[in-house]
């Protein structure tokens, strides 16, 4: 009985299974690992925001990232391209696997044989959230990849504190937004 109860609870916690989450996470970690092995740089995603501003602004706050700004643009283009590879294979149905889960959220758009995916989260939430993310990740020295993946992987105390802070606050805000009836 305990086993089936456990299975029930598990299904409740993970209604879409765990395989695609775990496999995707391994790929995310592998991407960071490949760059680290070649360069000794633990690459995070949010410094790109400031380093790219150094092309347009002479503020020293952005110019300090001048030496890394080119590769950070390349890293970001790689992320966009990698997600596009996913879209052009699994998302469009040209490649399939039992480990893959089709999307159950948002809406699909067929364009020239490809299946694109579009969010239904309101633009104002994306923009306002984006502004807060731009301020918070740069002030807080990292985001879900810099603190969450690289920092936790390095057993960094500052990153554990950063992750605990943004995770708990985000849970509170997301629950509040849902309770207020802001629908997706």
């Amino acid at each position: 009985m305990s086993l089936s109860l456990l299975a029930l609870a598990f299904g409740d916690l993970f209604p879409n299974g765990i395989e695609h989450y775990a496999l995707g996470g391994l790929f995310v970690g592998l991407g960071v690992a490949v760059i680290y092995l070649g360069t000794a740089i633990p690459a995070g995603a949010s410094t790109f925001l400031e380093s790219t501003l150094s092309y347009a602004s002479s503020l020293s706050r952005f110019q300090q990232y001048h030496p890394s700004r080119d590769w950070r643009v390349v890293f970001t283009l790689g992320i966009v391209a990698g997600a596009f590879v996913y879209a052009a294979t699994f998302q469009s149905g040209f490649v399939s696997s039992s480990l893959h889960q089709p999307a159950t959220t948002g809406e699909f758009l067929e364009v020239g044989g490809l299946t694109l995916w579009l969010t239904e989260v309101q633009p104002w939430r994306l923009f306002l959230g984006g502004v807060l993310i731009g301020i918070g990740t740069r002030l807080g020295k990292g985001c879900t990849s810099g603190h969450g993946v690289c920092g936790v992987g390095s057993a960094s105390g500052a990153s554990f504190v950063g992750v605990a802070t943004f995770l708990l606050i985000a849970i509170g805000v997301a629950q509040l937004v849902a309770a207020l009836g802001v629908s997706l």
Binding site: H20, L37, F84, Y86, Q91, G146
Partner: protein, 155 residues
């Protein structure tokens, strides 16, 4: 200031390949969908934990394991070492502000770039917002006569 990639012709290609794998993983794990992240934050689907900690496990093994075999990286000559960020008030205040934005929107920087790749052009509102926010904090911190130590190379 010299660019970090001047040393080796394979530097930028390797960074691109790393980004490619990273972005594919975010697409495959549905982290490019803000709805899935919001479902996690609202306790409807805890799968995100497998993504974040699965990735952290791979990087952790890599970061600590490579030091058993080599001391410097082939493409940069840089030493494999822990570049720990200092824990100060900014980590908590910034993390809190980031948390509000993450909880409101379901997006974060890496997942937002990946979201563009899966076709979600609506995410450009979010990415534009991130640049506005990054600029605002840089402007405020440049103008307020802050005596903080120079910011660590954060990610």
């Amino acid at each position: 200031m010299s660019a970090e990639h001047e040393q080796h012709p394979l530097f930028l290609p390797l960074v691109f390949v790393g980004g490619l794998i990273f972005g594919f993983g975010l697409g495959f794990s549905h982290m490019a969908q803000p709805e899935v992240v919001l479902n996690f934050l609202q306790f409807d689907d805890f799968g995100l934990l497998f993504v974040m900690f699965g990735a952290a496990a791979v990087t952790g093994i890599t970061f600590f394991g490579i030091k058993q075999f080599r001391s410097t990286a082939p493409l940069t000559g840089a030493v494999y070492g822990r570049r720990l960020k200092t824990l100060d008030k900014n980590v908590v205040v910034g993390g809190g502000i980031f948390g509000v934005g993450w909880g409101l929107s379901g997006i974060c920087p890496g997942a937002a770039y990946a979201s563009l790749g899966v076709g979600n052009i609506t995410i450009l509102y979010g990415i534009a917002g991130m640049f506005v926010g990054a600029y605002l904090q840089g402007y405020w911190r440049s103008t307020s006569a802050e005596s903080d130590a120079p910011a660590a190379a954060a990610d």
